[in-house]
Symmetry: C2
Subunit: 240 residues, 2 copies
DNA sequence: TGCCTTGAGATTGTATACAAGCATTTTCCA
DNA sequence: TGGAAAATGCTTGTATACAATCTCAAGGCA
């Protein structure tokens, strides 16, 4: 497939948004990565992106650098950018980090959570059920991010958001078939309402353990672009 | 004082290092910020930095963007970069986050720590005692970073490193006189050798609490450049 | 005298030109 | 025919030019 064509599909989403082209391009790429429309190993030529988004390479480079610092893309000198393929070691790191962070943050979450928060979470969980599989991955990340934002600690929330995004990459490489969160987030909402910390923490630990256990690190530990995803599933995104 | 002159002092450190100018410039600026030679509110004109480091604005911009994503500098459109002045709210956030992260990581540290690690930490602590006050701040950050690296979780270590750097900014704005870590890191080393987790965790909590308690949020919550630091203490850095 | 307006200077935002390095293909030789 | 070396084309790295915007100071008006 033609690169420019492919990235034009992403650009359609970006231009419809606000003025700040940086944020728009970042958002478009972030969503494409998290939704597995751009799979690990995929190359991101600056020219193609610049053309698709209607900006110069300068702007694209800035966005790519940001994504690189968040470890979603990998920059190699004179070889350009490509979607990061996490190694098995990095994958375990990310899950360990998430267990630590989400476990610690949940205590704060339970202290500060309001009815509005529950409503917002319920809405996301509802959208998840009716969304396409690709969008469900993004909404799942959004659910976790929104949940942990309740703790009101921006520093930890930001760090955690990056870990959640990287989890999506890990699932893209090592996942076996099923999507991101196999279990229902709605179950968690019920537990949240009960206002007891222990069951919530237990559920979250189990949740993360389930995801990690569903991974298969034996095969293709390396950076093999997943062309099936890249070429097959991004059609319904053409909404410009 | 002349901006270019000031930044030339930093550049001397950078050029003496390796080829990758990006990393060299980043290191030089990072150290200057953490050592309070560049204080919160100080402006960082691209031209002056480019001239000082002997590169173009393009390279400088890339480094500044990285520092901005790490929240050490603040970028405002058409107004350039300046060293970030953390708000009191952000300061509390950072300390809360550090308590959570360092507390959680210490358990892992105690599991994996080796004699070599202790030696490395002892060496840093020793350097701290003989260093100038500015260098002591940087070495203190280094001590914490090195300690937490023992846990072997790169994701959390990176996040924590950023928090430690930001702590230096917080002390620059809200600190009252005394330097970063008033207490002796050597005390911690003795506790580490004893291989008991509880005392170590208690010490660390107290350590962070002490630092936070020594801050004064009532005065100058805003971005007032600390010209005394900026103009007074950077002379001993001229080693080119 | 004090405040607002206006203009010049300086700084940043974006795009583009050119140089440097990599990848692929083509060609030549065994 | 297979392999290796060279060359061409493409992508990225860096610097610079120009436009847009802000800052600060000078001047005018109430």
């Amino acid at each position: 497939m033609n690169d420019t064509r492919q990235f034009h599909l992403l650009a359609g989403l970006a231009t419809g948004r606000d003025a700040r082209s940086d944020d728009a391009i970042y958002q478009a790429l972030w969503e494409a990565i998290v939704e597995h429309r751009l799979s690990p190993g995929a190359r991101l030529p600056e020219d193609a992106l610049a053309g698709a988004f209607g900006v110069s390479r300068t702007t694209v480079r800035r966005v790519l650098q940001r994504l690189a610092l968040e470890q979603l893309v990998t920059l190699r000198t004179h070889r350009g950018a490509q979607i990061t393929s996490p190694t098995p070691g990095e994958a375990r790191d990310v899950f360990r980090a998430r267990r630590v962070l989400e476990g610690a943050l949940l205590a704060e979450v339970m202290r500060y959570i309001t009815l509005e928060d529950v409503q917002a979470l319920k809405q996301i969980a509802e959208q998840e059920r009716h969304a396409s599989r690709e969008q469900a991955i993004r909404l799942s990340a959004r659910f976790h991010t929104r949940l942990m934002a309740i703790a009101g600690n921006a520093s930890l929330s930001d760090a955690l958001s990056q870990l959640i995004s990287r989890t999506s990459l890990i699932i893209a490489v090592y996942g076996r078939g099923q999507a991101g969160c196999p279990c229902e987030h709605q179950t968690l909402i019920e537990l949240l309402k009960a206002e007891a910390l222990a069951p919530v923490q237990h559920w979250m630990h189990q949740h993360l353990a389930d995801i990690e256990a569903s991974l298969d690190f034996t095969a293709s530990g390396d950076a093999l672009p997943d062309f099936e995803h890249l070429f097959g599933h991004h059609r319904e995104q053409n909404v410009s």
